[in-house]
Subunit: 377 residues, 2 copies
């Protein structure tokens, strides 16, 4: 298990923030890291080589979407998700738990697992901890997530507690189903809602199970940033210092910044590509809408300091034109920029931690956004 | 004018087919050449670098679309269409004549020009030979087309004749408006419908005006391949041997093959990208529909002999998956392949002419398509 002990190295800390390195057989991931989401076997609208050129070292694949279409057995027969979608670097897959709760209808949860209807065609499916791990192994994922039950931010405490208990039993079944895999890693998922005691209890159980890393689940489910940060003020430290910590489904740039300050190492979010498909660009000055008429004659790039393909080659006026003409290339170019923006942000964060300057970095981040984009024109 | 005399060189002939080279200040175009269409300042769905990697040496821009949105004056202020859309190689622009007739409503044609309503917002516009040339110069086009009147395949002969006469008067006004441009070139457009006498008359007038090249207009307007080839059996030879000949808006792979055999040097068509957005791939074995269920488990590339990005990296099963999931990347990957297919076809044609083997090449082309894709499985 010597390679497992080297899976995650912490190189430097700055306050609670950690600079680290995850090492997998498919490549290294510098942390804090952002993982673009490849929901259905594609980071929407972007060629894999451009996802990589934007600075991505790992992407996320969705178990729920891929089990329904095209099916994990088919992907396995094609040599796994990496080969199927032509992404050679590491892939982390979620367990499907969150999507089963949020996307599917007619779900029936039992101790054994979840029976649900596909949101695509209504067909019946069953997923359990064992089946989730099997699917993720079929996909050839490098980092596999334990199967958990997810509750939303309105759930009463007793239900949060019983759900956490079940998720911990499922975590145990997940790690048993995973078995011993020399080149793959499995993360457990801390649950417990906004309750400190439950989060601590969950962490103790997971720590005993000795996962390779730990995610914080049940956050970014509609509670708002303030509420989320309150939990992040205590929850990450309940997990082993020496293992990577992953905040699932987060988030907006300032969510990420605040979470890094609170000791989180990994993030994933659909925002860069979803924004890109709706005419939105993330920049150092904040978010801008390319469909806005103020960009019609604007010869600036999206962001002067950005060196991505889009910013080097195109004006806001051109992007405004593509948006108005509903051209696919608008979505493509904005998605490329947005992924690059996120990866540049992570790089900046890592450099700041390395130089013990995270506090200044965060201040500058908020200061630039306060000035905004309009005044810089 | 020494650079003008070198604009087009014929290197070799094989029957009526010609191997040639067009030289512009932005690069060389080997003929017979296919120009992908960049209607609204983008070859739909494909990054310019991938258009180039697919083997394209020139693209076409649409005067009608760009004059309406974002406007040629705006593009001029941005340094021209090349800079605006980040395409560094040559651009040929059409004159807008065809789209004014086919896309706009409420058009009013006079000797002066055409008044029409935008198909986008109903706004009123006017385009004349002088205005068309001005727009194309604003765009910074390398090869500019004379402004002509287009009639459809059902038009009675008298109307075809009077329309051709008007197009020839407009050709004269176009070349006068173009003036002397040391690094740009202008093509006249032969008209005359399916009538040999009118085509000859049109050619004589255009030849006297001494254009840099000549297009054949009024074809590919719904008449069918047989009717078009009948015209191509005589019409190209009415034009000066030493100038390039461009068949506008053509076409399907077998249209191009037949037209090259009849002495055509240049083509443009939206088909590769339009097919790509509707799940269709062009291959040596014919056209295939990636949405078809027979590709669900198909681990073949689109075309075994194709070395494009899509064929090197992806299976038909993956492309089928993207199509079913309505993923943008499906359109992107199929468009990249289809442009590559067209450019490989042109390269094959050029090599065949060079080796005096065009007849064999054409026979093999039709033979492979007759066998089709299904039997090769």
């Amino acid at each position: 298990m010597s390679n497992k002990s080297k899976f995650f190295n912490i190189l430097k800390t700055d306050g609670k923030a950690r600079l680290g390195k995850i090492t997998t057989s498919r490549g290294v991931v510098d942390t804090p890291a952002f993982m673009p989401v490849g929901t259905a076997g594609t980071v929407k609208g972007v060629l894999p080589e451009n996802v990589k050129l934007a600075g991505s070292q790992i992407i996320l694949g969705n178990t729920y979407h891929l089990m329904l279409r095209p099916g994990s057995e088919l992907i396995s027969r094609f040599g796994g998700l990496h080969k199927f979608m032509n992404w050679k670097l590491p892939i982390l897959t979620d367990s499907g738990g969150f999507q089963v709760m949020s996307l599917s209808k007619l779900r029936k949860i039992s101790e054994e697992g979840v029976e649900f209807s596909s949101h695509i065609d209504g067909s019946k499916h069953f997923v359990s901890p064992e089946r989730s791990i099997e699917i993720q192994l079929n996909l050839g994922s490098d980092i596999i997530m334990a199967f958990d039950e997810c509750v939303d931010s309105e759930t009463p405490l007793e239900k949060v507690a019983s759900s956490m208990d079940r998720s911990m039993r499922w975590a145990k079944r997940s790690i048993a189903a995973f078995g011993s895999q020399s080149r793959k890693f499995i993360f457990g998922i801390q649950q417990g809602g906004f309750d400190e005691k439950l989060r601590l209890e969950s962490s103790k159980i997971l720590t005993d199970l000795n996962f390779d890393g730990y995610a914080l689940g049940g956050l970014a489910v509609g509670e708002g940033q303030e509420e989320m940060f309150k939990v992040l003020d205590f929850a990450p430290e309940f997990l082993p210092q020496e293992k990577p910590r992953y905040l699932m489904g987060v988030g907006k740039p300032d969510d990420i910044i605040g979470a890094v300050e609170r000791g989180i190492d990994m993030f994933d979010c659909v925002l860069p590509t979803r924004s890109g498909r709706t005419g939105q660009a993330h920049t150092r000055m904040g978010e801008i809408n390319l469909r806005n008429a103020r960009h019609i004659k604007d010869d600036q790039p999206l962001d002067f300091l950005c060196s991505c393909y889009t910013c080097v080659n195109y004006s806001r006026a051109y992007l405004n034109h593509l948006e108005k003409a509903n051209e696919i290339l608008g979505s493509v170019l904005l998605s490329i920029h947005n992924i690059s923006y996120y990866q540049e942000l992570m790089k900046g964060i890592r450099e700041a931690i390395s130089n013990n300057e995270l506090k200044t970095f965060v201040e500058n981040f908020h200061e630039r956004r306060k000035i905004g984009d309009l005044l810089e024109l």
